[in-house]
Amino acid sequence: SQELEQSPQSLIVQEGKNLTINCTSSKTLYGLYWYKQKYGEGLIFLMMLQKGGEEKSHEKITAKLDEKKQQSSLHITASQPSHAGIYLCGADSPDGSNYQLIWGAGTKLIIKP
């Protein structure tokens, strides 16, 4: 079965610094989703990538899917306190089933003022 591994598990970053979170799949990714979760709240959709080499940006967050479609990275530029939370990556099932997403364990991001 496909597994998603996120790294690092947690990250403490000084406000204003850049950071990168990785999501690595054991199999080819057919659709990769990034979500953000604040403590005690639901998940907020950030971006979805499908094509190898694809890159999307929203405000100061950029997500990329590598050419081989087995790894995605999420990069935050000039981090702010509002970026703090848990970031999760999810992937569509490799067998083409559109019922489920497989999830990484999440990366907890803390921004130090």
Binding site: G40, L43, M48, G90, D92, N98, Y99, Q100, A105
Partner: protein, 114 residues
């Protein structure tokens, strides 16, 4: 947000009692999901539904049942709650705008089994 609400938001229950969590959507989406979130495990699928009375098991379905008698409501029942079911439960709906799948999540239910 997107018209998905979960109730209750918090619940404390005793071991052995049945518990039902409710997920309600206002947008008539076909696919609905129940996940649990635990530290170190991310989100794990409990059950999902692809239509009224059409449901199937996810990877951690033991001890849980679901029902969907109306498009808008997806109920998760813990038949006899155990401490291992202490978790945060999320409901999600799957949208299909222009072939790009988008999952929208509820705010979660924090369940404590004592």
């Amino acid at each position: 947000d997107a018209g998905i609400t979960q109730s209750p938001r918090h619940k404390v229950t005793e071991t052995g009692t049945p518990v039902t969590l409710r997920c309600h959507q206002t947008e008539n989406h076909r696919y609905m999901y129940w996940y649990r979130q635990d530290p170190g495990h991310g989100l794990r699928l409990i059950h999902y539904s692809y239509g009224v009375k059409d449901t199937d098991k996810g990877e951690v379905s033991d001890g849980y049942s679901v029902s969907r008698s109306k498009t808008e409501d997806f109920l998760l029942t813990l038949e006899s709650a155990t401490s291992s079911q202490t978790s945060v439960y999320f409901c999600a709906i799957r949208k299909q705008p222009e072939q790009i799948f988008d999952y929208t999540f509820g705010s979660g239910t924090r369940l404590t089994v004592v």
